[in-house]
Amino acid sequence: MRNRHGLVMAVVALALVSALTQAAESATAQQQVRANMGAFRARENQLIEAAEKLSTPRMADGRIDLTGTFPTDFYMAGTQANRAGGNIILISPEYGRGGRQPMPADGPKYKPEHLAKVDFNDINQPKVDGTFHCGWPGTPRIGSPQQIFQTPREVVFLYKDYSGMVWRVIPTDGRKHRDVDPTYFGDSVGKWEGDTLVIDSVNFVEDTWFGERGYFHSDKMRVTERITRKGDVLYWEARVEDPEVLAAPYLIKQRKFRKAAEGTLLEEPPRCVENDFKDMVNMDNHGQR
């Protein structure tokens, strides 16, 4: 009996050691993933600093030339990839355990009567956010263009979006806003202020949000994007005004994107197919954009 008890204890001890070893290996893999993320960010910052020091191209008319491909889909930067022996090893960071995050202190300031709707949207995002179901994010939520073509009269923005392929053609020759139907990306006109392209967009549908935390808007929204370039780095920021629902304009802070190698073309995004909503048992969600 004592021997049997000892055997059981030994098996339990072995199992415990095995479990602890596995946990330690897993922790090590996660530490490596975090280190990779840190290294990626540090390297990307260095590359951006170096790219900013390159000469800034100009058009024949003297305007700064924004033409180029500026990828934004740096996803899962910490992934440890290894393809040795025909394997596909992509060790990802483990997911968080959900739970609603506090609303950001520097988020948009809504009029008091609209705060409850923002709260509802944030809590019910998978139900009420069109982008969850592959809908267009609209301007400005789509972010910066990933490929730009510039002529003396127009700039063309191309987006490889999660929802599909999106383009915008923005006149820069003094044309005024058109009398057209409201759209997801709005009616845009651009003008140059020195080396910065300032894009004024109006005439939006009300279906989109301008930020992931339930930031809805009215059809009176006006978006001002400011885009410039230094060397091979694109700078993009946007200001959102909506006198119907916002108590003050909201600024989407400047983001920087490094130009891809000359000649890099955008790849067509895959089809977006929402497959999970039917299996969700709660509305937990994490950041989209």
Binding site: R34, Y75, M76, I88, P93, R97, N282, G287
Partner: protein
Amino acid sequence: MRPFIALAALLAFGAIATAHHSPVAVFDMDKRVTQKGTFKAVHWTNPHVNFDVEVLKDGKPMTWQFESHGVSYFTRNGIRLRDFQAKIGLGVEVLAQPAINGNPFGFVRVMKFADGTEFKMFED
């Protein structure tokens, strides 16, 4: 302090997130399920890539679907659709986090193919 990294923290430099829902909303993060069967299809879609595995239940074939990250997660790391298409028809053993609602659906962690190769997303 959250024990794991929130996905939003992984996105670098204001990049577009191909994130969708939190896995917590669909999958049991603390459970593991293992299914053995035949690798039948890969759905190369956003917001998530999905894999179909045909298994036998009570002698009858049924399909389990296993979800992974978005396409850019793979392409950024040099993995293409053809890499998974090459596995179609092979036997496979899948370790996954099962759907909470009991449907034949899981979030893939490791797939071991009958040719000796594996697709691994997490350490287990």
